[in-house]
């Protein structure tokens, strides 16, 4: 039983999603849906579609030790998986933000170049 491999996501997009998750979690522990909502707020609805892609990203980050998760009761008394940023996550966020800024600046320069 072989499946076609899942289409690889654009690295830049994947990177930016990781960055946004870390950013969202830096404000406090959240469950998946909450993270999605917070990113939506931060990004002014740019990332509204395809909320499901959050979860592979969350898992990736957890494997890298940047976030942790545990099951807990949610605000409406349902079981939900809460994610929390780790110290490593905060450090990564810091460097990622710096890298992103440099990268964005470079893109701007390139786009403005004539």
């Amino acid at each position: 039983m072989a499946r076609p491999p899942a289409a690889p996501q654009n690295d830049a997009l994947r990177g930016s999603l990781d960055l946004l998750i870390l950013k969202a979690l830096s404000l406090g522990p959240l469950h998946g849906w909450g993270i999605g909502n917070r990113i939506q707020q931060i990004s002014q609805d740019v990332l509204a579609a395809n909320q499901g892609s959050l979860y592979p990203a969350l898992q990736r980050l957890e494997h890298r030790g940047l976030i942790t998760s545990e099951w807990a009761d949610s605000e409406n008394n349902r079981r939900a998986r809460y994610y929390e940023i780790t110290a490593a996550g905060r450090a990564a966020l810091k460097t990622e933000v710096a890298t992103w800024r440099r990268f964005a600046a470079a893109i701007d320069v390139a786009l403005d170049a004539r």
Binding site: G36, A49, N50, Q51, G52
Partner: protein, 893 residues
């Protein structure tokens, strides 16, 4: 999340998907529920709210998939994927997969069986503590080619006195005992050892129940005691209360002292009884009948032992010149107990191991070639995958995985083959492999199979894998590079595949020569004239108990009545008895002194095999009378002592004279009676089929008590019956006659004489058959190799052949050229294999009978046979090449 936890989760996610799935589901469901509720709060109808939530989430299945992808160990997942891929691509070429698996199963099965037998029989240590310290001692008579003979009582005492060399010395001899019947049943013959009390301490064995007999119970006149083997104890009901009770052995009540551990397996003994040597009057120094086992003193080496034995032997030769005449080259000898137990089985098994490794190598070469050809057919696929970014490691792994999958299936089949084949073999020739009764699937066997399979998978898998994924300077080889490259046959049949085929043929040549030599040797053994006719003869052993037959007259009368009753059976022609049945009982020799030729001091008199016969023996065995007369009932206690000699003895003892009327006697005492030769009979192969008949003399059973005061020679006989009835139907009547005569006496080793003669050459037959099977396997594999590679070469060169045919080449030319290609590899394989066989066949010398290890006929026939089958294998694809349709092939490209 700690690392081990994460790792465990990954492992779990590989195998147990359920838990992961559940967690994914509940997390996703929570998300969708939250989104739905929010949509409802925003004013959507519940159904629409749910729909929108799902849309916003995106494809659920895709996320589950991707989520799962992030988990698990990538390497293992890829391995599993490789394995699946291998299975799928193998299924596309079933003939390839089937031929590889069968080849492997045969080679691995044969190798595993032989290696396991080797391991258990030869390499496994003896089941005693510190087995390396145990030695078997004995006597050597250089002049007779006897290297490890039995010892006499005084010699055992001499050995036991070497306390600086030996920590302990034990003596024993096998003496069959009749176990009396339970009420109503029949007496049973058991293997018993009469052993000194030191035997168990020397071996380091203690009874599992009860106790061993003490030294003071091992003296003449002590009450009869017995130790039971574990096997016999179980057969008697495995009752621990048996210890302390009595059983009736040879008509005497024996107290059961204890039960031996299951590991005790000396001479397959059922019983141990005290040897009871008389320390005051030890027996004759020349009466060699004891086997001796000793444990070396701490830190004494085998070399030191040998020199100590040599020193004491020299002293004894000087002290007892009448017993050890210098011309007999007598000495005491020792070898490790392991060597003594194994005999030449070690050599035979090593030889088989060698042959089976050759077969395995051929199989590996063959499979490597099949894989190579297959890989070259898949050149495009490989090039494509390489171009798409698959690293070399990935491609090598893919090829190796394929090898592994094939090896696994082949090994599983091989294990089945090894066990069934091995057991078939063992049942076919019981006792041919010492210490192994049957094979079962167990850890050591599986480990052997796995090791064999693993190393062969590496051999046949790695080689082609590395060759075919090589990245040259210009990247991987790409498609279009067609034609017979150096990878295939190359110019002189020397390319990679050609080389492998040549090696296969060379290895096959080695196996075929070995098989040919052993077959010829066996055929010669089977044709040897044994000197008697075994057809329609049944033999069994009888011994009457000393306790019940204290007079020689009673013994003589018993055997007289036994033979007479047997001859009354319908269909029975003749019956008779002999002391040592040819090819079964071994022999004993007693020196003689010829009348008119007294033995000089310091010289030995003539020695010949000593036999005792009853009337009817020679007739029953159809041993021809050459001169004089046969034994008669009138050769009794009152008549003068008559003797018969075989033809060799007649010619050797009285060269150029008539033997009839000559007299001889046992040496030493001038009052001993003379025996008069009254008949000369034909030579018989007594000891072994291969050994030339020795000098032999026969005395009449009824007259024996007059000349030799050793009643055990009188009380036991092997009885032979010639009958027109089926040998199988005689067993019951024989038992009935015996129990009618004396219910305490049981027949032992009751079997057709043809079984005896067949067993005498069972080992060489087994070895010849096995090597024959290996040779057929080797040749088949080599032929398949030639055929396969040449077919491949033809299919690759269809276009070239098409062009040449189009340009006017004639078909026979094409056939010749293609066939020559295959033959060239076969030819140098035969040459190299022949030279290697010439250089190494000497190792077979000891196994060969009547044929030299460099027999030109065998070498020539092997070479011709290999050449013929190689030609046949090459002709098929070569003729196919000639049928190439130029127009078609040219259009194909």
């Amino acid at each position: 999340m700690s690392l081990p936890q994460g790792f465990a989760a990954r492992i779990r996610s590989l195998f147990g998907r359920r838990g992961t799935e559940q967690r994914i589901d509940s997390e996703f469901r929570f998300h969708l529920d939250m989104e739905t509720e929010q949509n409802i709060r925003l004013g959507l109808a519940p159904d629409e709210a749910r729909r929108q939530a799902i849309i916003a989430f995106g494809g659920v299945q895709q996320h589950v998939e991707e989520y799962r992808d992030g988990r698990g160990l990538r390497v293992v997942r890829e391995l599993i994927r490789d394995a699946r891929h291998s299975l799928r691509s193998l299924r596309r070429e079933p003939s390839f997969a089937v031929s590889v698996v069968i080849t492997l199963a045969l080679a691995i099965g044969a190798t595993t069986a032989v290696f396991t037998l080797m391991q258990r029989s030869v390499l496994a240590p003896l089941p005693y503590p510190s087995p390396g310290e145990l030695v078997a001692l004995g006597t050597r008579y250089g002049a007779w080619g006897l290297d490890h003979g039995s010892a006499s009582e005084p010699e055992v005492a001499d050995l036991a006195a070497l306390t600086r060399t030996f920590a302990g010395v034990a003596a024993y001899r096998p003496v069959p005992q009749d176990l009396a019947a339970e009420a109503g049943g029949q007496a049973e013959r058991l293997n018993a050892l009469q052993a000194s009390a030191s035997l168990l301490p020397v071996l380091g064995v203690a009874p599992v129940l009860g106790r061993a007999y003490r030294t003071d119970e091992d003296v003449p006149g002590s009450p009869p005691v017995v130790l039971l083997s574990h096997r016999l104890w179980q057969r008697l009901g495995a009752d621990s209360a048996l210890v302390g009770r009595t059983i009736r052995l040879n008509a005497l009540l024996h107290t059961v002292l204890g039960v031996l551990p299951p590991s005790f397996a000396l001479e397959e003994a059922d019983l141990l009884v005290p040897l009871r040597l008389d320390p005051v009057s030890p027996g004759d120094r020349g009466a060699h009948y004891l086997r001796v086992i000793a444990r070396l003193a701490p830190r004494v080496t085998m070399a030191e032992t040998r020199s100590a034995l040599e020193v004491v032997s020299a002293r004894l030769r000087a002290d007892y010149p009448e017993n050890y005449p210098s011309d007999l080259q007598w000495s005491l000898t020792g070898r490790s107990l392991r060597d003594a137990v194994l005999g030449d089985a070690g050599t035979v098994l090593s030889m088989l191991s060698g042959a089976v490794v050759l077969v395995l190598l051929i199989a590996c070469a063959n499979i490597a070639n099949l894989m190579q050809a297959r890989l070259q057919r898949r050149e495009k696929e490989m090039a494509l995958r390489s171009a798409l970014g698959a690293g070399r490691g990935r491609l090598v792994r893919q090829v190796l995985t394929e090898g592994l999958v094939l090896a696994l299936v082949g090994t599983a089949l091989g294990v089945v083959l090894a066990v069934t084949g091995g057991n078939l073999l063992l049942s076919f020739a019981p006792g041919a492999v010492p210490r192994v009764e049957r094979l079962g699937v167990d850890v050591p066997l599986l480990a052997t199979a796995a090791a064999v399979a693993g190393s062969s998978a590496l051999l046949f898998g790695l080689l082609p894998a590395l060759r075919n994924t090589r990245m040259g300077a210009g990247g991987p080889r790409v498609w279009g590079a067609r034609g017979a490259s150096a990878e295939g046959w190359g110019a002189g049949g020397r390319g990679f595949m050609g080389t492998l085929v040549g090696i296969e043929v060379a290895l096959a040549m080695l196996v075929v020569v070995a098989a040919g030599l052993l077959f010829q040797s066996y055929a010669r053994l089977a044709r040897v004239d044994l000197g008697f006719s075994a057809d329609h003869v049944v033999a069994f052993n009888v011994a009457v108990p000393e306790a019940a037959y204290d007079s020689s007259a009673a013994v003589t009368s018993f055997y007289g009545r036994l033979v007479a009753s047997l001859e009354e059976f319908p269909g029975v022609d003749r019956a008779g008895g002999i002391l040592n049945l040819p090819l079964r009982s071994g022999t004993g020799s007693i020196d003689i002194e010829l009348e008119g030729r007294p033995t000089e001091p310091g010289r030995s008199g003539p020695s010949a095999n000593f036999q005792v016969v009853t009337p009817g023996y020679f007739e029953a065995m159809r041993i021809p009378l050459i001169e004089g007369r046969l034994p008669l009932a009138s050769d009794d206690q009152r008549a003068p002592v008559a003797a018969w000699v075989n033809r060799s003895a007649a010619a050797g003892l009285w060269p150029g004279e008539a033997a009839i009327g000559k007299r001889f006697r046992f040496p030493g005492d001038s009052t001993r009676p003379w025996f008069t030769v009254v008949g000369v009979v034909g030579d018989v192969r007594t000891v072994s089929v291969a050994a030339e008949p020795a000098w032999e003399y026969f005395l009449a059973h009824a007259q024996l008590p007059r000349v030799l005061n050793v009643s055990s020679f009188h009380r036991r006989l092997s009885i032979v019956i010639r009958s027109s009835a089926d040998p199988g139907t005689l067993s019951q009547p024989i038992r009935r006659v015996l129990s009618d005569l004396d219910a305490r006496v049981a027949p032992a080793q009751l079997e057709p004489m043809t079984t005896v003669t067949s067993r005498a050459i069972a080992r060489p037959r087994l070895v010849a058959l096995l090597l024959g099977a290996f040779a057929i396997l080797a040749v088949t594999l080599a032929v398949v190799g030639i055929y396969g590679v040449l077919s491949y070469s033809v299919s690759r060169r269809t276009r070239e052949i098409g062009i040449r045919l189009a340009l006017g080449a004639r078909q026979p030319q094409v056939v010749r050229q293609m066939a020559l290609q295959g033959l060239r590899a076969a030819a140098w394989g035969i040459a190299i294999g022949g030279v290697a066989a010439l250089a190494s066949s000497r190792v077979l010398s000891e196994q060969l009978f009547g044929i030299g290890p460099r027999d030109p006929a065998v070498f020539g026939a092997s070479a011709i046979a290999l050449a013929m089958v190689s030609l046949a294998a090459a002709m098929i694809p070569a003729r196919r090449a000639a049928r190439v349709q130029p127009a078609l092939t040219l259009r194909e490209e």
